[in-house]
Symmetry: C2
Subunit: 208 residues, 2 copies
């Protein structure tokens, strides 16, 4: 059996941890295939190739493994993102870079996308993390006089919703850079950047 990302990452660090990681990978796979609501314990153990009872050695219930899966993915994605963002000073450039990279990473790992999209409902922490991350860049842009908005949580919700649209569209229709750049442009427009300037920033970030 081929191993998933987190089972791979667990390497040889003890049988228990390896099984646990395999279960998390399996849960992610099942969510991608059937959606978060339809996930059954048996689906997970079958996909992980362990006995049904094994699930309960590791997790209390469905919610617990879903939270762990979402969290593991977020940690992973944040690390990749941080690397790309270091040293970027311009607010609009930061927002577009973060958005585009985030979308790209998640769309490239479509199994992760389903968990991230479903996770915003089920794992409050996920949304909070995104909020903190995004808000800093928005405020930077405002301080630089590049964004003409008041930074509120309603604004953050709107931007996250647009990012979700880009993810969902590419999950359905396949990877498509135009979708990402169009949504990035929309986000800048939302922030009070003119259409012309928005196009310029987006194309400069996406063609490096």
């Amino acid at each position: 059996m081929r191993h998933g990302h987190f089972r791979e990452q667990a390497g040889g660090s003890g049988k228990k941890l390896r099984t646990r990681a395999a279960l998390v990978d399996a849960a992610i796979k099942v969510v991608a295939e059937k959606g978060m609501e339809a996930l059954k314990i048996t689906d997970v153990t079958t996909a992980a190739d362990v006995a049904n009872g094994t699930f309960y050695n590791h997790f209390e219930d469905k919610d617990e493994i879903l939270r762990e899966a979402a969290f593991a993915i977020v940690v992973e994605v944040s690390q990749k993102l941080d690397a790309d963002m270091a040293g970027i000073e311009d607010g609009p450039t930061r927002v577009v870079t973060a958005t585009a990279q985030f979308i790209e990473i998640v769309v490239d790992a479509p199994d992760w996308a389903a968990v991230v999209l479903g996770g915003t409902d089920h794992v409050p922490q996920l949304r909070e993390d995104a909020d903190t991350y995004l808000r800093a860049d928005l405020e930077r842009g405002v301080a630089q006089g590049k964004f003409d908005v008041e930074v509120t949580s309603l604004l953050v919700d709107q931007i996250l919703a647009l990012i979700a649209v880009a993810m969902r569209t590419q999950l359905k229709g396949g990877r498509d850079t135009k979708v990402t750049s169009q949504v990035c442009e929309s986000i800048l427009r939302l922030l009070g950047v003119s259409g012309a300037k928005a196009r310029k920033v987006v194309s400069s970030v996406l063609n490096d």
Copy 2:
């Protein structure tokens, strides 16, 4: 027992139709309380105050009653909307009016909101209807030279996502006109209307 909207509407038109309407009302109520995924047949029959078996005299399964509920709501909302839209020629004004009215109607009937929000996933027809409705006004605005965009289904999805944000925010935090006007402004910005002009249109529509 107090009756819900559709049971009321059914009036005295035959026992079967009255029971059916009561079931639809009950389904809407249960969805609002526990979400679309968690809905159980028994919850519906209990809320409708009928025997469990009665459900099957009217509907094949869960999906069927949910579709019927969503459809009934959409018909109702569309009728109210059409009345308000008649005679408005200006594209931006139409978009803001439709958006604001739609949000207001649904937020005023919070039970409906849950079905509408959940329905976009489960009832493809719902999204298609919204698409058709919205697209016409977008194209009108473009033809009038008021919107600086290409009308694509990606654009429609983005606008629908922003409307959903406004609905969700007010479902959680209670009715709040500022939320609606802020989101309407965002939608206009998305469509290439300048911040100043957007504010003007929104405030002129929302203060009549």
